[in-house]
Structure formats: structure tokens, C-alpha cells
């Protein structure tokens, strides 16, 4: 590994991805995991309003990329509000979106183009090279939905969407039925899930199996060093929901990093294929994701729903990858 702190950890020829997110405590860990993984070529980070407003999520994305030693990763600001419903905002991310974590002022400012225009550019290029792009969505799906309405002809440029969002058998986290990312823009989620694009869905059914228990958090932290290590320690400490009745243990669910892990180590995940529908007009069930497990809808299954996660395997991967930042600094 290179001794230069700004040397890319990912190499060309690896899988091209864009991370669409609303950092966000767990988004931040997901970005750090992706940028520590040479299998992934992070072509850009796009931001959206979600856990906090889009000015904040954009600034946070810039700061996290710099924390990872990757000020070269382009960050594009996306939609400032959901398509139809009013913004709701997250509950577990503090005012800044990163809990108590304080990071240095970013050296860069957000520049045009808009996230949607960036998607158009990169997908036109992907189509021309017949090298489709994988999209990771860690927040509300507003940017992707706008893209799909503005340029539906670019769908073939998308290899797959890996999405953190929804709740199938598991109950919701923001309302009785609904998970935050889907509830925050149910119309956008409906557009994406009905688009026919291949999707891997990491819903609460999956992420609640990946609890950062105090033991697992301690094991991850053991290998950490440098500014990234300090930041991850702060984020993990903030993430403890301290609600064993709900989650079966202390700690918080590692929602967004699972998306990156599913790209890196698919063998850690069991999936089941189904068509997914999103409720966008019910008062009681707004934002509920409904899986057609038994073919009742007559629609082609298009979503690989993650049903089981090898949590220990995931935390081993997370610890090993995040430790690379400290090792890089030490060398």
C-alpha cells in the first residue's frame, strides 16, 4: 500500500459505483468503508436532503471524503426536498448530521453540476463504454427518482441499485410500518422500485441483524488509528441506541455500511427475490415497503431482498477495512 496519505485506496478497473447519501452517522461509516476498499471505484458521492438538509449532507460528504484522504472524490449536491411530501428529518444524527463528530472545515465547496446532471453525465458515458454503473442509495431516493423521470433512456446504464431502506417482515423505525429513508420520500421510492432496475434491498430486516453491540464495536475499534479511527470511535459511541428490548442487544444497527459490504462480500448475505411495492397514499402505512413473496401481484420479481446477514463476518470486514486508514498513516 502506498505511503502517501492522498493516494487512492481503490484502483482503476474496480467496480464503478456512485454513493447517493444523506450523511448521516452510518452514511459516514459507509463512505469510509467504500473509500478503504480497492474493489470499488467511487466515481462520485451525491447528496440529498434526508437525515438533515442538503447543505449539511453535502458539507458532511466533503468532510468525510477529506477525512478519508480522498479530496479528489467529486461530491455533487442533489435535491433539497422530497418530490411531494414535506421533509421529515432524521432523529439520530444530531443537528450537524454527524452526531457529536467535529471535522475540519472542508477545503472544497460544492460546485455545479447538480447531482442529477452528474448522473446523466456519468450514465451517458457508461452507456457509451458499455460499462454500467452501480448505484448505492443510503438516503431517500429523490435524486434517482428525478433522474428516472428526466432521462428514462439512461436506465440501461445502471447495473444495479443497492439500497438501504424499507422494512418487510420487520416493523418500521420511524413509524409503525415504515423505515426512514422510504418514508422520507415514498413517491421517489415508488418510482425507483417500479422502474424495473435490478435492486438489492437492505431493509431493517437485514440491518437489525447487524447490531454494533459494545463487543463488536470494541473489536472494530481495536484496530483503528489516526483521525479516521478517532472519528469512527466517536460515531460508534453516538450510535448506541441502548434499547435491548427493541434490538435484542445494546448498540445501533449498522444500516448504511451494509450496502457497501454487500458489494464487497456478497457471500455474507442471503437474499430472496420478490417484487416490491411502496405505499405512498395511505395515512397509516405511508412509506411501507410491501414484498410480493408469493407472486400475488403477477409482476416480475425485481428485487433481491436481503434476509440474512453474517453479522460477525460483516464486522470483521468493517474492522479490517477501517484499520487500513491507520496502517496507511503509520507507514
Amino acid at each position: 500500500m502506498s505511503a502517501s496519505p492522498s493516494a487512492p485506496l481503490s484502483s482503476p478497473g474496480s467496480r464503478p459505483i456512485v454513493i447517493d447519501c444523506d450523511p448521516g452517522v452510518d452514511d459516514a461509516i459507509a463512505i469510509l468503508l467504500a473509500l478503504a476498499s480497492p474493489e470499488l471505484d467511487v466515481r462520485g458521492i451525491t447528496t440529498v436532503a434526508g437525515n438533515v438538509g442538503v447543505e449539511r449532507t453535502s458539507r458532511n460528504a466533503l468532510q468525510i471524503a477529506e477525512l478519508a484522504g480522498r479530496p479528489d472524490i467529486p461530491v455533487f449536491a442533489g435535491c433539497h426536498r422530497p418530490l411531494v411530501v414535506a421533509p421529515i428529518g432524521g432523529q439520530f444524527h444530531g443537528e450537524s448530521g454527524l452526531g457529536p463528530l467535529m471535522l475540519p472545515e472542508p477545503s472544497r465547496q460544492i460546485q455545479p453540476p447538480h447531482a442529477v446532471s452528474f448522473f446523466i453525465e456519468i450514465l451517458e458515458d457508461a452507456l457509451a463504454r458499455t460499462r454500467p454503473i452501480t448505484l448505492c442509495t443510503l438516503g431517500p431516493m429523490t435524486n434517482i427518482a428525478v433522474l428516472l423521470r428526466v432521462r428514462p433512456d439512461l436506465i440501461p446504464g445502471i447495473e444495479r441499485i443497492l439500497s438501504m431502506g424499507g422494512a418487510y417482515v420487520e416493523a418500521g423505525n420511524r413509524t409503525m410500518t415504515s423505515e426512514f429513508n422510504i418514508l422520507a420520500d415514498p413517491h421517489a421510492a415508488s418510482i425507483v422500485f417500479s422502474s424495473g432496475i435490478a435492486i438489492t434491498s437492505l431493509a431493517l430486516d437485514a440491518t437489525h441483524q447487524a447490531m454494533a453491540t459494545p463487543e463488536r464495536a470494541a473489536a472494530v475499534q481495536q484496530g483503528l488509528g489516526g483521525p479516521v479511527g478517532a472519528a469512527v470511535k466517536t460515531l460508534l459511541a453516538h450510535w448506541d441506541r441502548n434499547d435491548p428490548r427493541r434490538y435484542g442487544s445494546r448498540g445501533g444497527p449498522m444500516h448504511d455500511p451494509l450496502v457497501i459490504a454487500a458489494l464487497l462480500r456478497p457471500e455474507l448475505f442471503e437474499t430472496r427475490k420478490a417484487r416490491v411495492f411502496v405505499e405512498h397514499s395511505s395515512a397509516l402505512c405511508l412509506g411501507q415497503t410491501v414484498a410480493d413473496w408469493y407472486g400475488k401481484s403477477g409482476e416480475t420479481p425485481n428485487v433481491d431482498i436481503v434476509t440474512r446477514v453474517d453479522a460477525d463476518g460483516f464486522f470483521a470486514l468493517l474492522g479490517e477495512r477501517l484499520a487500513r486508514y491507520g496502517l496507511r498513516e503509520a507507514s
Binding site: H80, R81, S117, R149, V150
Partner: protein
């Protein structure tokens, strides 16, 4: 007087064609572009028809942008006269011009952001489903700040509906987009069926269009023959409404209309999807507040329309005199 910058967002559409021709013949308006969205007919046809209309108006340099091919989330519903499709070539001649590259929603967002930055204000005249305007408003907070007003043909209150018993077509075609626009905080002036049915285009108007408004007037008159006319039971007298022309007329001459402020809402689902409702007596401070046109001076409206469109006839006369 400096002209008002306006983007026409339309789904031509016969009355949209009239709206575009009126705007392009009016010095009060600086038409930045025509955006064509799926609505009355599929988007390929609305784009074609917008291009044919700007060519017919002798202004092929006006950019035409392709809009959304379908509503945000609702099932697509086309207009009653969807079978018209692309305007027949023998009525509205074909044109070689192409749409500008890029898409309508991004164009609207970009122009509004530029307007906000320059302290200039942009008006939008919406005579189709509001899909692209909703997408633009979602993208960036500065878009709403750059838009002075959206004049919308849409909705129905005591007039009930036209495409469905309780819904006017433009609202039915994308009720979620309408909800999104109404909640955006941008100033909205709405021209519902209640007011569009107060001004009927009659045979003598068509005769004037044919006689003194050039090739554009002849084509528009021929197209109006296809549309919703002669429903005596509904309109109470001969003639047919010119729906989409009204918001353009308002941007040129606002005093043609009586407006009332109201809290405005729309039903997005179920059998009344697209139904608009307004509270004209809402307490101050309730949002979203829109201005709703409740009355129109019919005589002056047609005088404005036919007077402006006569420019197309005069231009042809001048051209043939130069040639001879």
C-alpha cells in the same frame, strides 16, 4: 417597459397551440423556451407539435425542450383528443427543426437559478400537467426563489371536472406534481374550468382567425374545429373554451381577470384523484395560498387574442408586398 421573461410549459394540444401563438405575438413577453410535457398526447407528439407551432409562428429559434414522458407516480392518462396526436401536416406544416438537447425539468431549474442569481424574475405559464415544474422545484431551493409566478391552467371548483366527473385534465394527469407545486411556496395563479368556461370561442371568432391572422390563424382555426366545441348542454351557448390561452393572456394583461386568494389543495389518489379544492375564507396565515381566477372579461380577452394574432396576418401581408 421591459418584457417579462416566461417559460411556456405545455402539452400541445390545440389550445396550447393558441397559447404559444399568443405569447410569441406579444411584446410584453420574452419567451425563453417552450417545454413540452406528456399530457394531451404522448411526449413525442407534444414535442413535435411545439416545434411545429414555433415554426408556424415564424420563430424557429425559440428553444423547445423535451419534458417528462409520464407523470411522477400516477398511471398515465391522455387527453380526450389524444387521437389527434401530432398535428396533421396539411393543417400545421411539418418542420425540420429539432428540440434543444437537454430536458425540460433541468432547463427550468437552470433558468430559474440564473434568474434568482441575477435578481431577475422568471414567470412560468403551465398549460399541461405540472410534472417538469415539480421536478425542477424539487432539485434546488433556489428554483423557487427565481420563479416570480406560475400561471396554471388547471383545476375545477363548482365546474367539477372535464376528463373525470371531479377532475380537470391537467390536474388529473399528474395530481402529485400539482400537490408538489402548490406546496412549494411559489406564487400560483390558477385558471380553473370555472373561469375558462366563461369565455367561449365562437364561429365569428374562428372567421376572424381565418380571415386576418395569416397561416397561423388559419391553422389554429382548423385545429379548434377538432376540439371541445358545441356542447350546448355544458356551456349554455354556442362555442368552446380556450382554456390554455388564459394564463398567457393573464401574463400580458392581468386586469382581464378577477382573482381571489384562497388556500388551494388537490386530492392525489382514489376515485377523486386530481380534484382541486379551495378555501376562499381561510384564516390569514394558512398556506398554501394561491390566486384563483374567478371571472374574466370575455370581450376584452377575445379582442386581445385576435388583435395579437392579427400580427401574423400583417406580417404575411408585409412580406408579400416586399416580394411584389
Amino acid at each position: 417597459m421591459t418584457a417579462r421573461s416566461v417559460i411556456l410549459d405545455a402539452d400541445p394540444g390545440v389550445d396550447d397551440m393558441g397559447a404559444i401563438l399568443l405569447a410569441l405575438a406579444s411584446p410584453e413577453l420574452d419567451v425563453e423556451a417552450v417545454c413540452a410535457v406528456a399530457g394531451n398526447v404522448p411526449v413525442e407528439a407534444t414535442v413535435r407539435n411545439a416545434l411545429k407551432t414555433v415554426a408556424l409562428a415564424g420563430q424557429p429559434g425559440i428553444p423547445v425542450l423535451r419534458g417528462s414522458a409520464r407523470p411522477l407516480v400516477a398511471e398515465q392518462v391522455l387527453g380526450k383528443h389524444a387521437a389527434v396526436g401530432v398535428f396533421p401536416d396539411d393543417i400545421v406544416p411539418p418542420t425540420e427543426i429539432d428540440p434543444q438537447s437537454g430536458s425540460a425539468a433541468l432547463f427550468i431549474a437552470e433558468r430559474a437559478i440564473v434568474a434568482a442569481r441575477d435578481g431577475r424574475r422568471l414567470s412560468i405559464c403551465a398549460s399541461g400537467p405540472l410534472t417538469d415544474i415539480a421536478l425542477a422545484l424539487t432539485m434546488d431551493a433556489r428554483v423557487a426563489r427565481g420563479i416570480e409566478r406560475i400561471a396554471i391552467m388547471g383545476g375545477a371548483f363548482t365546474a367539477l371536472g372535464n376528463r373525470r366527473p371531479f377532475a380537470e385534465f391537467n390536474m388529473l394527469a399528474d395530481p402529485h406534481a400539482a400537490a408538489s407545486v402548490f406546496a412549494s411556496g411559489v406564487a400560483v395563479t390558477l385558471f380553473p374550468l370555472d373561469v375558462t368556461q366563461q369565455a367561449l370561442l365562437q364561429d365569428h371568432h374562428l372567421a376572424t382567425l381565418r380571415a386576418s391572422c395569416g397561416a397561423a390563424g388559419k391553422a389554429l382555426a382548423a385545429m379548434f374545429e377538432f376540439s371541445d366545441r358545441g356542447n350546448l348542454a355544458r356551456y349554455g351557448r354556442p362555442g368552446g373554451p380556450i382554456h390554455d390561452i388564459m394564463p398567457v393572456a393573464f401574463l400580458i394583461a392581468p386586469d382581464l381577470f378577477t382573482l381571489r386568494p384562497a388556500v388551494l389543495g388537490i386530492e392525489t389518489g382514489g376515485s377523486t384523484a386530481g380534484h382541486t379544492f379551495a378555501d376562499f375564507d381561510a384564516p390569514a396565515g394558512d398556506v398554501p395560498v394561491a390566486e384563483i381566477a374567478v371571472a374574466v372579461d370575455e370581450e376584452r380577452l377575445f379582442a386581445l387574442l385576435l388583435g395579437r394574432l392579427s400580427a401574423y396576418g400583417e406580417r404575411e401581408k408585409a412580406q408579400s408586398e416586399t416580394r411584389s
